[in-house]
Each structure stands twice: as structure tokens, then as C-alpha cells.
């Protein structure tokens, strides 16, 4: 089966989806006859609610299904988090379903690992094998000998539940390759991970966040809306991103110097007393220490570090403070950049604290109540297990439920503090997303059993012993998921199959439920999805009906300011400008700036930075046939002056090399990037034999990135690599 949508149709539909549906009432949109008026031929489609799965945003959608085939995806106008829109990736979700390269049956590896020789097997054989291998590993290495990794998926909670019932402490998610250091910094400053209320903000500083292109709903749309209403958006980025192009102001900051910029803002706000003295006195602790700490960190000092003129820094500090509390340093999402990324984000958090924007319109707001109940269970305790995770105590403030993938991988390779020999992977792809691909391969070579559950044959699946086909999000029933949208409150979505699951795919929930029986803990999965949803919605009796009617449910949302007068969840009960926790642990209680390290090798003079395009969700979308027409390959962004020095012309193939590895790709010679920085998209240069749009196309960014991590929480640090660049064939 294959999609019948041509490129032209797709572009047309994508445009329609973005513009037309917002004004259409959901009921009308759902009734085919309502759309027939005036049309030449009425589409014979059924309309069914769903939630997108092309990235983590999970925007509400309506699938148009004709004779059992999904023809088109439209936004759900009642899903206000996405402002009634569905992006290009969302539209292209159809192709994920009908991808001819999808995994169709359980596959057993019969050749060498990574060789691509597979045998199709039945589900009974596959699940018996998985259960017996997991049993063997538990018997030989304790239950912590299994690692469980699950991506950002609505069913990933079942993988966590299974791991706990199985008895392993070793669980990782996508988070330690993404945003953990940002969470760490805000938990340690505010006692919470707040959400930005962009919609009501008057002044937003986006430091490194390419939010108009790396879409996060509703922030991406709201940034555009507030600029139209007169708000100012400042972008700091070594690259002239789409966000930079659209923003009020862009500064090509030197990579790795954001903290200097933030500390200089703090310097101006404190020395000029631009903060709200009542808020700072009542709600924060450590102003005196902070004032002393930033006393010398003038805009002139920061200019020398960041390359941003002192006069501009001074002006921005004053403008930001004048707009407060409806002003913010945007917390951002992916913070996996430097080895001190937690401290960099602490400096973001501190400036926000000085703006007094906590729980205020246009500022940072605490997560809104969603009203979902957890579904309790009683996993057993295994006395023979080691005391903790395999990466325990590797860094001072590891999140125990997330861990660190980079450090876990290192410890598996070393076999210390204990051997870990099995890996269960669900819809996450460290072979394409974790820095230093060779190390991930080395880790996999230490394993005795590896099983991957996924829709497509990712590079990680390509390395497995056993691959199990999962249905796409349009083919399965999911639990209720709460999504946050700034001050507007949480919303709840769920998924029912829009079409029956294709091929022999089975949801990971069913796989785990079967394995729980085979492994002797069926009580942990003593429910089906409808029952699970019922338990989740126990406190929201009207939610299920509304979800069926509208495809989305909005729980009651109390007004902002509800935390006024309440203690913060920090050791001092205040916002900690000065971190008592860090002081106790011997860490810098205030963010201490150091100039970014220079390249250790004169031949490698370019810092490699990562980022996203609006049509790419890392390696999970680059093989999508429709999206690959927008992003057919990745290129190396190279400054035009640097290119001239290297003798590289537009479109030349360049060889890029770091201590981790090398790659070849075309150069994009451009003024849109600093001379000392290069950039490429992730998700290309793959190795799987079932990713024909990306294997052998472009270069792999994870082949080039060195394996580094944040010193406080173990989040990966992927901007710490310097590469050499030369024209292919040049001496």
C-alpha cells in the first residue's frame, strides 16, 4: 500500500491546513455533508480525531479516511494549543503510516550485528524469545542487567512501568539527550520547571532557542502574534535562523557565551535597581551574594566575551526590566549544549527571577493542573539488585528517573559498577541522536540481547537482535495525555485508531502486557487501555464524553497568581538566586562564567552546533518521503569568508572531521553563520538499510560529535566539538 498524495497535492493541502480550518467549527468539519455545499464532488471520507505524533507537541488533528485509507490530515480547530494549525510535519504524518519501508513483521537478526540480515518470524516466537532472554539476563546479572529506553511517546509510560515491575532501575528516556540541564537549573532555582506565557509577554529574549522554526506550540505562533502587537523578541544565535530573520533584533553571539550575556543583564538590573524590590525581598534569597558576584560583569565585559556591543546589552537590560513582569528570558527546550549547561540555564533562571515574572501574565508560570490520576501498582523488591542505577552518583544531581544516557553508555562499555547486558528500546533512536555514534555501537557490542520496538527500521533498530513492528499513532489506542500550553492551562488528548493497525504491528502496550504474563508479573498490566483511561480520568467525570465529542478536553484552569504567598519548593522556600543546594554539594552556588574553551587543535577551528528545521524532527522524520522533498539532504553551513579561505565553493563536497569521526556533505556557503561556527541538520548519513532517503545521503552529525556531558546532571553536551573542514580532494 502506498500514499496517493503527490508533492503538488501535499503542498496545496499543507497550505490549506494552515489557513483554512481555524475558522471552521469542529462539528461542521466532522460532517462530510457540511463541506459538500458548492463542491464539485463531495469527498466520501469519514473524519476521525487523532493527535499528531510527528514530534513531541502532539497537536490535535482530524484524519480524513476514505474506504479505510487516510487521505489527509487536518488540524482540529478545537485544539487551541496549536492555534488551530497543523505544521508541514503534521501533514506529512500520512506518509509515516504508508511508508513502504515500515517494519511489517517481527524480525530476527540472522547475520552479524548491523549486517542487515533478517528473518521474519511470528509474534509467539518473538515474544517467547524476548521473555526468555530477559529471564536469562536477570538470572545472570540481576534484574538491573536490563536497560529500558523509551522515547517521547504516549505509551512510553508503560515501558517505565514494565521496567519497574521487572525490577530494573536502569531506565533512560530522550530527556538526557535534550532538556534535562534546563529542568535541573529551574528546579534548583524555582523548585519547579515553569512554562513560558509567551502570549502575554511584551519582551522575550530567545537565547539559542530557534523557536519560530523548531516548533513548540503555542510558543512558536505566539511569538509572531505578540510581535504584531508591539512586543519585542530578541534572538541570540551564532546562526541567522528563521527565528533570527523574523525577530525584532538578532545578535550573532559567540557560541558558549550566553552566561556572560545573562550575568551582564543581572549586573545592569541590580546596579540600576531595575528590579521590583518588594518581590525580590519577599520571594528570592541571595540578592546580596548575586550583586557581589556580578559587580564586575559590566556590559563592556560581556561585549568582549559575547561579541554583542555593550550599548546594546545595556539597552536590552533596561528594555527587559521596563517590560517586566510581562518579560522573560525564554527558558528554551533543548539545553544539551555545554559541559556547564545547567549553570548556563541557572543564569537564565536568575534573570527571570529578577524580573519578578513568576506566575504573572507574560512571565514564567507553574505547570497548570491537569487533573489526571496516576494508576498505582505494587512492583516487587529484589534484594539481590545492586543499590542503584548503573550511572548512579556519576554526577552530583542526576535525576533518578531519567539518568544520563551518555554516562550509562560509558558504564556499559566499562562493565562497571556492574554488567548491563540487555536493552529494551521503544521508539527512541540513540544511534542517531546520542553524540559519538561509534560509542553507541561499542555499547551495543557489549550486549547479549537487544530488542527494539519501532515503526520504522531506525539505525538503532538496525543494530538489534530482535525488531518488533509498532503501529503509528494513527493506528492505535492510547492512554490520556496531558499537554501544557503556558497560562492557558493544560489540555487532555487521547487517541483511538483512525484505521486498523497495518501489517502485523502491535502497540508496545500489548507487547509489554504479554511479556508481563510470560515473566510472572501480570498484575502490573491488569487492565486494557479503556480501563486505564477510566482510572486516569477518575477525577474528571465529564472528560471522556468531551474527548469523544471534541478530540480535546480542557480541565478547569485557575487564574495566575495562585502561588502568591506560597513557599517555593526549594531548600530556602524562596527562589534561590544563590543556590543553597549547590553550596552544600560543593558546586558553584552562583553561575561562574569561564570563556569557552578554544579548539585544542589548530586544524579544527570550527565549533559544530546543532539545530532544527521546521520540516525535521531529528532522525524520526528525515526518511519521510514528503518531508524529504523539503529537506532532501543535510548541508554544512559554512561562512562565506571561511569558505573562501578554504577554497570551498557553493555546493562543493567537504570532508568534516573530529576526534569522534568524519563525514562528507555539500557545503552551504552563506553569510548566515559566524566564521568560527558550522552547522548541519541531524538525521542524515544514517546506516539502516531501510531508510532509503537518508542512508548514504549527507553526513551524520552524531558521527562527528564527541561524547561530553553536563557536569551537574549528566545531560549530553553536543556543542563541545570542534571540526576540521576541507574541500573533498584538497590536500
Amino acid at each position: 500500500m502506498s500514499s496517493n498524495i503527490s508533492r503538488r497535492d501535499f503542498l496545496r493541502l499543507a497550505g490549506m491546513a494552515a489557513t483554512a480550518t481555524a475558522a471552521t467549527a469542529a462539528q461542521a468539519a466532522l460532517a462530510p455533508e457540511a463541506r459538500a455545499a458548492g463542491a464539485v464532488t463531495a469527498p466520501q471520507w469519514e473524519s476521525k480525531f487523532g493527535a499528531c505524533d510527528m514530534c513531541f507537541n502532539r497537536c490535535g488533528l482530524i484524519a480524513r479516511v476514505e474506504r479505510g485509507v487516510i487521505k489527509k490530515l487536518d488540524p482540529n480547530p478545537k485544539f487551541t494549543k496549536s492555534r488551530g494549525m497543523l505544521c508541514a510535519r503534521g501533514n506529512a504524518g500520512v506518509d509515516q503510516v504508508y511508508d513502504p519501508e515500515r517494519i511489517k513483521t517481527p524480525m530476527l537478526r540472522v547475520g552479524n550485528r548491523g549486517e542487515g540480515k533478517w528473518k521474519a518470524i511470528g509474534w509467539d516466537e518473538a515474544l517467547d524469545l524476548a521473555a526468555s532472554k530477559m529471564k536469562d539476563i536477570a538470572a545472570k546479572y540481576t534484574r538491573c542487567g536490563m536497560l529500558f529506553s523509551a522515547g517521547a511517546d504516549t505509551q512510553s509510560q508503560f515501558v517505565h512501568r514494565f521496567a519497574e515491575a521487572f525490577g530494573s532501575y536502569n531506565i533512560t528516556s530522550h530527556e538526557s539527550l535534550c532538556l534535562l540541564s534546563g529542568n535541573r537549573a529551574f528546579v534548583d532555582t524555582f523548585g519547579d520547571v515553569p512554562l513560558p506565557d509567551v502570549r502575554s509577554s511584551k519582551y522575550v529574549i530567545l537565547a539559542g532557542a530557534n523557536r519560530m522554526e523548531a516548533l513548540v506550540t503555542p510558543d512558536s505562533m505566539d511569538l509572531m502574534t505578540i510581535m504584531r502587537e508591539g512586543a519585542k523578541v530578541v534572538v541570540l544565535d551564532p546562526r541567522y535562523t528563521k527565528s533570527a530573520a523574523l525577530a525584532s533584533e538578532w545578535h550573532a553571539i559567540k557560541p558558549g557565551t550566553d552566561m556572560a550575556f545573562m550575568l551582564a543583564l543581572a549586573h545592569v538590573i541590580i546596579t540600576e535597581k531595575l528590579y521590583d524590590p518588594k518581590f525580590v525581598a519577599e520571594r528570592t534569597s541571595g540578592l546580596d551574594q548575586l550583586a557581589a558576584h556580578v559587580a564586575e560583569m559590566t556590559p563592556a565585559w560581556a561585549e568582549a566575551e559575547t561579541g554583542i556591543p555593550a550599548a546594546d546589552i545595556l539597552r536590552m537590560a533596561r528594555e527587559l526590566a521596563a517590560a517586566a513582569p510581562a518579560a522573560m528570558v525564554y527558558p528554551g527546550r533543548r539545553s544539551s549544549d555545554y559541559e556547564n549547561s545547567t549553570q548556563i540555564r541557572r543564569s537564565f533562571a536568575i534573570v527571570n527571577a529578577l524580573l519578578g515574572n513568576w506566575d504573572r501574565p507574560g512571565g514564567l508560570v507553574p505547570a497548570r493542573p491537569a487533573g489526571l490520576k496516576k494508576v498505582p501498582f505494587e512492583p516487587p523488591f529484589y534484594d539481590d539488585n545492586p543499590p542503584g542505577r548503573v550511572d548512579a552518583k556519576s554526577v552530583p544531581l542526576l535525576f533518578d528517573d531519567e539518568g544520563s544516557f551518555v554516562i550509562t553508555r560509558e558504564n556499559i562499555i566499562k562493565g562497571a559498577p556492574y554488567p548491563l547486558k540487555g536493552w529494551f528500546v521503544y521508539k527512541t533512536n540513540p544511534m542517531a541522536t546520542a553524540p559519538d555514534r561509534r560509542k553507541t555501537r561499542e555499547m551495543i557490542d557489549k550486549l547479549e540481547f537487544m530488542v527494539v520496538v519501532d515503526i520504522a527500521m531506525s539505525d538503532t533498530a538496525w543494530m538489534a537482535d530482535l525488531v518488533l513492528p509498532a503501529p503509528s499513532a494513527l493506528e492505535r489506542q492510547d492512554p490520556v495525555q496531558a499537554l501544557q500550553a503556558g497560562a492557558e492551562g493544560a489540555c487532555l488528548v487521547w487517541r483511538d485508531p483512525v484505521i486498523p493497525a497495518l501489517h502485523q504491528s502491535r502497540p508496545v502496550f500489548e507487547i509489554l502486557k504479554t511479556l508481563s504474563v510470560k515473566l510472572g508479573f501480570p498484575e502490573a498490566f491488569d487492565f486494557d487501555i479503556p480501563k486505564y483511561r477510566e482510572m486516569q480520568l477518575a477525577a474528571l467525570p465529564e472528560a471522556a464524553e468531551i474527548l469523544k465529542r471534541d478530540g480535546v478536553y480542557y480541565p478547569p484552569n485557575p487564574p495566575l497568581g495562585g502561588t502568591d504567598g506560597q513557599p517555593f519548593k526549594t531548600p530556602s522556600t524562596k527562589i534561590e538566586l544563590y543556590s543553597n543546594r549547590y553550596a552544600d554539594l560543593g558546586l558553584d552556588p552562583l553561575p561562574v562564567y569561564a570563556s569557552p574553551k578554544a579548539s585544542p587543535d589548530a586544524g579544527r577551528k570550527f565549533r559544530l552546533v546543532a539545530g532544527r528545521s521546521a520540516c525535521v524532527t531529528q532522525a524520526s522524520s528525515t526518511n519521510n518521503a514528503l518531508l524529504s522533498e523539503f529537506e532532501p539532504e543535510n548541508t554544512l553551513w559554512l561562512n562565506e569568508e571561511s569558505a573562501k579561505e578554504l577554497g570551498v565553493k557553493q555546493g562543493d563536497v567537504v570532508q568534516v572531521e573530529s576526534p569522534a569521526g568524519k563525514g562528507e556533505l555539500k557545503a552551504l556557503v552563506t553569510p548566515k553563520i559566524r566564521k568560527d561556527t558550522v552547522y548541519m541538520l541531524s538525521g542524515f548519513g544514517t546506516i539502516s538499510g531501510k531508510l532509503s532517503h537518508t542512508t548514504g545521503v549527507g553526513a551524520s552529525i552524531v558521527e562527528l560529535m564527541e561524547s561530553r556531558f553536563d557536569a551537574i546532571c549528566g545531560n549530553s553536551a553536543i556543542h563541545e566539538t570542534f571540526v576540521s573542514v576541507k574541500k573533498k580532494g584538497a590536500a
Binding site: G191, P376, F381, L397, L398, D401, R581
Partner: protein, 105 residues
């Protein structure tokens, strides 16, 4: 997660004269298991929800310094001092103001 061992040691010293409840540092992982087994039959199912993040570390310390003053103490029959310690470690280590606040599930 890591907890301030100095504070904890000070607490033990302070309590040593009156109670031996905190004879050793508890096992938070085992405490989570025990909490689910022994406490959740009331808390979180039929009683109002209670989880580590319901209280601050200081509040958990205060409560466990004098467990006999806790409202439901009479229902704690069969909980050994060692188990009490483990449950305390779990509640304390994942308290509201801890480095990794947790809700029990």
C-alpha cells in the same frame, strides 16, 4: 538522590537520646516498595493522596522524629524500625523540596 548527610547526621545525633528510629541510613528504593505495600492501602487509595512530594524534607524529618504522634500510627503494626527507616528515606529523598520531587504511583 543525594541528601545532605551532615544534616542527617546532626538529626541522628539530636534524636539519639530519645529515639533509635534512625539508627542507620535507610534504603530509599526499598522504602518506595514498602510505602506502596504498607502505607498506600490507606494513603492514595481510600484516604486522600499522600506522596513524598506532599511535604518538605524538614516536614518529613519532623514527622518521623516522633512517629507515634502521626495520626495513623496505630495502623503501623508490623512495620519494623528498619522498614520505618527505609520508608522515611524514600519520603525524604523525594520530598517536595528535594532535588527530585516525586509523586508516588
Amino acid at each position: 538522590m543525594k541528601r545532605s548527610t551532615t544534616l542527617f547526621a546532626a538529626l541522628i545525633l539530636a534524636l539519639a537520646a530519645v529515639s533509635l528510629a534512625f539508627a542507620a541510613e535507610g534504603n530509599a528504593r526499598k522504602g518506595k516498595y514498602l510505602y506502596r505495600q504498607k502505607c498506600r492501602s490507606c494513603h492514595g487509595v481510600s484516604a486522600s493522596d499522600l506522596s513524598p512530594s506532599s511535604k518538605t524534607q524538614a516536614e518529613w524529618k519532623k514527622a518521623f522524629a516522633k512517629p507515634e504522634a502521626i495520626k495513623c500510627y496505630k495502623d503501623w503494626k508490623g512495620v519494623t524500625p528498619e522498614e520505618k527507616n527505609d520508608i522515611f528515606a524514600y519520603l525524604h529523598d523525594f520530598a517536595k523540596d528535594s532535588p527530585s520531587p516525586a509523586k508516588c504511583n
